[in-house]
Symmetry: D3
Amino acid sequence: MVEKFSHIDESRNVHMVDVTFKQDSERIAVAHAKVKMKKETLQAILQDKIAKGNVLTTAKVAAIMAAKKTSDLIPMCHNINLTHVDVNFSFDEEQNFIEIKSTVKCVGKTGAEMEALTAAAIAALTIYDMCKAIDKTMEICEIYLLEKSGGKSGEYRREDNR
Amino acid sequence: MVEKFSHIDESRNVHMVDVTFKQDSERIAVAHAKVKMKKETLQAILQDKIAKGNVLTTAKVAAIMAAKKTSDLIPMCHNINLTHVDVNFSFDEEQNFIEIKSTVKCVGKTGAEMEALTAAAIAALTIYDMCKAIDKTMEICEIYLLEKSGGKSGEYRREDNR
Amino acid sequence: MVEKFSHIDESRNVHMVDVTFKQDSERIAVAHAKVKMKKETLQAILQDKIAKGNVLTTAKVAAIMAAKKTSDLIPMCHNINLTHVDVNFSFDEEQNFIEIKSTVKCVGKTGAEMEALTAAAIAALTIYDMCKAIDKTMEICEIYLLEKSGGKSGEYRREDNR
Amino acid sequence: MVEKFSHIDESRNVHMVDVTFKQDSERIAVAHAKVKMKKETLQAILQDKIAKGNVLTTAKVAAIMAAKKTSDLIPMCHNINLTHVDVNFSFDEEQNFIEIKSTVKCVGKTGAEMEALTAAAIAALTIYDMCKAIDKTMEICEIYLLEKSGGKSGEYRREDNR
Amino acid sequence: MVEKFSHIDESRNVHMVDVTFKQDSERIAVAHAKVKMKKETLQAILQDKIAKGNVLTTAKVAAIMAAKKTSDLIPMCHNINLTHVDVNFSFDEEQNFIEIKSTVKCVGKTGAEMEALTAAAIAALTIYDMCKAIDKTMEICEIYLLEKSGGKSGEYRREDNR
Amino acid sequence: MVEKFSHIDESRNVHMVDVTFKQDSERIAVAHAKVKMKKETLQAILQDKIAKGNVLTTAKVAAIMAAKKTSDLIPMCHNINLTHVDVNFSFDEEQNFIEIKSTVKCVGKTGAEMEALTAAAIAALTIYDMCKAIDKTMEICEIYLLEKSGGKSGEYRREDNR
């Protein structure tokens, strides 16, 4: 094979990590996201008055489907088989936000952090989409990993973040 | 985490079933579908006279490809690795229909029923698409599970349905 | 270019129809599907007691998403931009079935029949998936085109089909 | 058609908005996101020392590809043809964050807000993925629409948000 | 917005070309590919003796489907609506190769060169896949653009390449 | 089941090979491709002067993402979980070509040859896309399997092909 590296190839480091010899293990990842909105927007969601329809179920279905295609979105992410995805919403009617918590499990050689984070982000974006006709100022924030377990790097739990 | 559930969240039940602790096992699912059509349409298919081309091979390729993306279509369906997909057609030239039988196998924590049903449905829809220029009255029916084996719920065989 | 056709190429007819010189027009297609089930299954859906969660909203979201990827499922189907997708359910508590009606619109060179039929089929398959833990005997049937308008072939309306 | 609505169908509102009769117009949407990280993490990115490789180009490619599949992620989002996607990064080495600005254009019946927001979110998630081996505490925040133009609702510009 | 570019951002040039103000026009692109193989392999294909089944129809369906998802494969490629895709095969039984010619048409702001090239490449890869059990030495070569028309850059025709 | 095969079904052989009872094993496949171009084109790539941006990193990201969706492109290909993907480029400034070498690993019942070949082909097509504005004569060639190991058929190494 010709190998005349007279030039540095700027792509040389990019690669999908080799996990061939990693052990399969049960893995859980939990991620968090928040959608801040106007008082009227949150009330419209809670009273199911958004013209596009049932906001939260749509967001949840979108999040679960997105978790399954994470490796198609995040370039260096391994494609893995998920064994469980769930997404929950809670509401703060004083500060007017929806809090999203996504849980993803798998049994495999790599963790499910990106799947959990992607599910949370897509749930948030779907809420935005369903409500943007009445509120373009919504803001998605605090997307982070809450905890993970399984795998060689073991347990991680985000420190007191509130 | 803020948890002020002053409102019922109508999405609260939707989730992908947790199969993390299920055992891997060999699984087979066989599904059925039927496409009813005009006499001329069936004859045109059998004599390979449809303008769009080879109807049955196209339908079969479509069905096999669809089986592989079932989890991208059916929201709560787990993404699994299939070990075999096959689709067969038989013809009734008296009652003018094509019968579709799809077989899907996998080794995993969940069954392949939805994959077999999706393959059968997409084969039927592809036949419709290839022939719709000459027959808009075609009807797809009798999509059901013929049998499954493997997994905790064990064997299932549809009772005498003919 | 070498062109020694000593053999018949059995694939020679398969192709995506050339619509380059067709006019853009507003098009509507309406499709139908039915899911027959046990009495208990329909009642569990209507009372929102299915363990996997909200069956109908999940089926509807799945159907709308599937309509958008019809051309990725049906090989010879053109990829088009949809301008509207809606799916409605009605229930027959005597004969125990759910009836699905999907409406798809676009402005383009080809109709949206396959999109409407695919949406109806995927809605039906999603209902099957959500309920299969309690009822494996469900049957999907009567998938057909109810009506279409727009395009050169003009109006089509299924004749008295009941 | 049978229409015995003895029960409320909780999915009845969910639908993709009908834009059939909207005019095509040139549309631009600009979205924003931020990834907060440890000082070491930002320095490793800027000095191209992340083991997985070139973080920013990978994030940008991911963002552009994600913009094109937004309608496959956000259920009620129309599938549209994009005419331009670009993503830019800027760095704050004092507060240790990367700022993402995505611009999406199209000529069509609906805006590109969701495409711009999705591009920004996926760029941020890709940065997270590339760096998570050295920093699990990264946080994605301030995902919002900066501005949009085109379409019936006209101009929108986020008010002085800093 | 913070803009402290103390570092060069190596991703700064990557973007999808802005075609917002380009005119729609009818465009055609024709691409070429060749698969070289053992004599026995070509004969097995022509006599339909490959265990995996009908090689050429499967390759053609794969190619047509791939053309439609080119923008999902080639990062900076615009997503466009195709109006026609066709793929033809010819055989050279002396030099033992299959020649592939793919034609793609669209009406839009960008050409369909990448779609035609992707169709040709995927047809070739599918032939490889179907036959690899009997011949691992197959080689795909001569993938190039034969001609294109439409758009501002006008006609292109590959010069006498044989 | 009705089985009146009065006609030969031309699709009868097409199927995805049954690997249900194959053993999982570690598998590696390495593929090769080459892109021939004008001297100016190669120099523009090496000096990072292509208007669309960083050619090689974009090609590499595209290749890695394509490897993961091989089973969505090649109809009879099994969907498998990859454990590693890498792509390297080398340059020949005398004969003016880029050589691509892709390596794919998995632990499973089927090999990763098609994934490696698809990665190489998509890397080549992406290089074409990024440079086609300045050079339409580029040609992709020499796509073949360099080596594979693992699985029942064991080792394969292409014989001295240069």
